[in-house]
């Protein structure tokens, strides 16, 4: 089956550009139920398998993708954070022909003033085609902090998406880090509703698209509250015949006084057959705001290359170094050394495999 109207732009543009939204094709009609046990509650975190409290929160990929996950979910978690926890909540799925589909429907609610971090990790342990589709809704109540790190290193014949919907109350902060390295088709959608005053949304998304990969992203930050802040940083590299589409929107609603929204994108291109599409929207109905977007797309900066080469690195090594540097700050966010190392190794392999292009 197919689902349409995925990752749709909040304000559409010329249809002939075919960029207003995307379609996900050849989805499995049904998903095998499994016997994942629910997370056991720990001190400060209650976990149940009842998800319906946050249905009003909209997601970045949209209703159609949500409905598919709701109908087919085989992982269902509702996390209620009542007390700050130091250790990250760690959900890791090593996928293979034995575990070929994870469809997850999750909710995270942080009570006022609490802090929590989540690490979602999806990786392949063999070369079979696997499928991950996830909806995660977050309600960050006043003064709370949610850190969410999503690492996706599935193999290059898989399909995966993570679909986030976030609501932030007064003084709440949500920081999302996404590391998208694998899957033939990788999608991500995030919609953050900065409802509360002084709420703050930060997103750092990095990707490396190689071969026939198709990456489709839709990030939307809706500013409702006063003094709200958005910072979206997307960095990536494309090699082979990879295609990437980024839609990124900062939307200042009337009344969102003194809010600031920044989006920036930096893309390195390594092959003549890549395609990079970007639509950075700024929508504004409030006078007293500051919105900014900056994008830079192209080959590696020659001055930087020259600098490294003047210190004795070969051109290839210099390029590799600069490429890996792009990912390092995001990788450092991963609160787990093993996964950090696995991501670094994955990156290194990808870089080596594409070095002919450099």
């Amino acid at each position: 089956m197919n689902i349409e109207n995925v990752n749709r732009l909040p304000a559409i543009t010329w249809r002939h550009l075919k960029i207003n939204d995307t379609i996900i094709e050849n989805l499995p009609e049904s998903i095998e139920k499994n016997n994942f046990s629910t997370f056991s509650s720990v001190s400060g975190i209650t976990c149940t398998d009842q998800v319906n409290t946050l249905s009003a929160i909209e997601t970045g990929m949209g209703k159609a993708a949500e409905d598919y996950v709701t109908a087919n979910a085989n992982v269902v978690n509702h996390f209620q954070i009542t007390q700050s926890t130091k250790d990250p909540v760690f959900l890791s799925y090593s996928m293979s022909n034995k575990l070929s589909a994870v469809v997850s429907s999750q909710e995270i609610v942080t009570e006022a003033g609490t802090e929590v971090s989540f690490l979602f990790d999806y990786n392949s342990c063999d070369d079979s085609s696997v499928f991950h589709a996830g909806t995660t809704k977050i309600h960050a109540k006043s003064g709370s902090l949610v850190k969410l790190i999503y690492v996706q290193t599935l193999n290059d014949i898989s399909l995966s998406w993570e679909n986030l919907g976030i609501q932030l109350d007064d003084d709440a902060r949500v920081e999302v880090t996404q590391i998208l390295l694998g899957s033939k088709r990788a999608l991500s959608g995030i919609k953050a509703k900065l409802a509360g005053n002084k709420s703050n949304f930060k997103l750092n998304c990095v990707y490396f698209g190689t071969e026939e990969q198709n990456i489709d992203l839709n990030f939307v930050s809706d500013h409702f509250g006063c003094d709200t802040n958005t910072d979206i940083v997307v960095e990536g590299a494309l090699a082979g015949s990879a295609v990437k589409t980024l839609r990124s929107t900062v939307d200042f609603k009337s009344g969102a006084k003194r809010s600031v929204g920044r989006e920036s994108e930096d893309v390195l291109l390594f092959s003549p057959t890549v395609r990079n599409r970007t639509v950075p929207l700024i929508l504004c109905a409030e006078e007293d705001v500051e919105g900014q977007h900056a994008a830079s797309v192209g080959k590696i900066d020659h001055d930087k290359l020259f600098y490294l080469q003047s210190r004795g690195l070969s051109e290839l090594d210099a390029k590799k170094l600069l490429l890996e540097a792009k990912f390092s700050s995001a990788v450092e966010q991963i609160p787990n050394e093993d996964i950090q190392n696995r991501v670094r190794a994955y990156l290194e392999r990808s870089v080596d495999a594409n070095a002919d292009n450099f």
Partner: protein
């Protein structure tokens, strides 16, 4: 929509050459809903079209009937598509007295310092003669250089008929969208310019004069060919506020910039605030050619305006400088498109927009770099100013890069006038409204700099007028 329906009947622009046929028109003609073959054939006959043009019009009509009104942009539901003839046939039997012009428009003319004679011509009385003389003077001066500057109707049958046929609606095709199809079917008036190889036209050609001349209308067609190594600056003159009964403008501008040639195309658009301005403009730029757009949008109720440049030849270049000022009741969707289709092509888009008093301004762009356009560079910078929170300002740019060997930059900023800047100017004795007007004028300065003096002055006046209207 009610008030705008009423305004529509107040006054008409004079446009007789085509439509003085009203005596011959049978009663059935006027009650026809929609655009019919009969109407199009009638237009074709009156204009003495060559046969191919008649066929072209009828083909365009077919396409028109098969296309829908665009829905991706500003709302067009206020356009009366069921009775499209309302827009095609201005009511020439209407009162054309200056006295009938609504006061607010007269005041605008007064404040702009438009001379009395010109006012009358705008109301469609008398001053045609003056405009024609000026126009002919300009024409003779450039004719001495071998430049052809004529109205489209004569061009169709004159010495350059073949050239016109070869280029007419080849860049902008009736199938592009409903309003291009409409244009293809009912176009009338406009200019044809041909600049021979190597000729540098020193004075800007201004279509301003032509707009007051017979044959010009709201479906005018402009076709400009600047041959190898030649240079031309063409100014499209919607410069004087124009009050028009048929509040749909669907003109087409096709520009051919040949090898090593350079064309600068400037517009200050200040249509009356009940106009639906659905104008299409496109340039094809050959090797080493340069296309420069300077575009100011101040008027209209609704605008869809995105001049497009196709960088067809190696090393060709385009620069777009634009400003949009959307005030009360206006929804101005403007921007630019560029396709890099050859190696080492360059484009630069720089725009400013201002929204105030409930106005909506949208910057929309599309930059495509095709796989063969190696070594291309493109930079976009757009800055928006919000003057109050009843207004809107949106930025919707698309970049599609299909080669790694490209250098792409994009910057967008949105904000408001800083209170500190206002205080600084007020501390030097400027009133709050003057301080704001001055800062907005400064914001628009990069565009004013690109305009000929008299247009820059007019633009500043317009900004000042708009600003004074906005405060208090």
């Amino acid at each position: 929509m009610r008030s705008f329906e009423e305004e529509k009947t107040d006054i008409a622009e004079i446009d007789r050459s085509v439509y003085d046929i009203k005596d011959k028109v049978d009663a059935g003609y006027t009650v026809q809903n929609g655009l019919t073959r009969e109407i199009v054939e009638e237009i074709s006959r009156t204009k003495n079209d060559p046969e191919w043009m008649r066929e072209f019009r009828l083909k365009a009509l077919e396409i028109y009937n098969g296309l829908d009104v665009p829905t991706w942009g500003p709302d067009l539901s206020g356009l009366n598509m069921e009775d499209i003839t309302t827009y095609i046939r201005p009511k020439t039997d209407m009162q054309m007295d200056w006295d009938d012009v609504p006061d607010y428009i007269k005041n605008t003319f007064d404040r702009l310092g438009i001379p009395e004679a010109e006012k009358s011509s705008l109301a469609g009385v008398g001053a045609q003669y003056d405009s024609e003389v000026v126009y002919h003077n300009v024409r003779e001066e450039v004719a001495a250089q071998g430049v052809v500057y004529t109205d489209m109707e004569s061009a169709l049958t004159g010495e350059y008929a073949d050239m016109v046929k070869e280029h007419f609606m080849k860049l902008l095709k009736p199938g592009d969208h409903k309003f291009n199809a409409l244009h293809g079917a009912v176009w009338s008036g406009g200019s044809f310019v041909y600049v021979p190889p190597g000729v540098h036209v020193d004075i800007p050609l201004q279509s301003y004069f032509r707009l007051n001349a017979p044959g010009a209308g709201q479906f005018e067609h402009t076709l400009i060919i600047v041959d190898k190594g030649a240079y031309l600056h063409f100014i499209e003159g919607c410069s004087a506020p124009k009050y028009n009964v048929a509040n749909l403008h669907a003109g087409c501008v096709e520009l051919y910039v040949q090898e090593g040639a350079r064309l600068r195309y400037s517009t200050i658009e200040n249509w009356s605030k009940n106009m639906y301005n659905l104008n299409s403009k496109r340039a094809m730029v050959q090797k080493d050619g340069i296309m420069e757009w300077v575009s100011g949008s101040f008027g209209s109720h609704t605008s869809y305006l995105y001049p497009m440049s196709i960088l067809k030849g190696e090393n060709s270049r385009m620069e777009f400088t634009g400003i949009t000022f959307a005030g009360n009741g206006q929804n101005l969707d403007t921007g630019a498109k560029v396709v890099h289709a050859a190696p080492n092509t360059k484009s630069h888009i720089s725009t400013k927009s201002i929204s105030r008093d409930g106005g909506v301004s949208t910057f929309r762009s599309s930059v495509s770099i095709l796989p063969q356009a190696k070594g291309s560079k493109t930079a976009t910078s757009c800055e928006s100013l919000m003057l109050d929170s009843r207004s809107r300002s949106d930025t919707i740019p698309v970049m599609d890069i299909q080669t790694d060997d490209a250098d792409v930059g994009h910057e967008a900023k949105i904000g408001r006038i800083s209170n500190e800047a206002i205080f600084y100017l007020m501390s030097r004795g400027l009133s709050e409204e003057d301080a704001k007007a001055m800062i907005v004028g400064g914001f628009a300065e990069p565009i004013a700099k690109e305009l000929p003096m008299e247009y820059a002055v007019e633009m500043n006046n317009l900004i000042h007028l708009e600003m004074i209207g906005s405060i208090g």
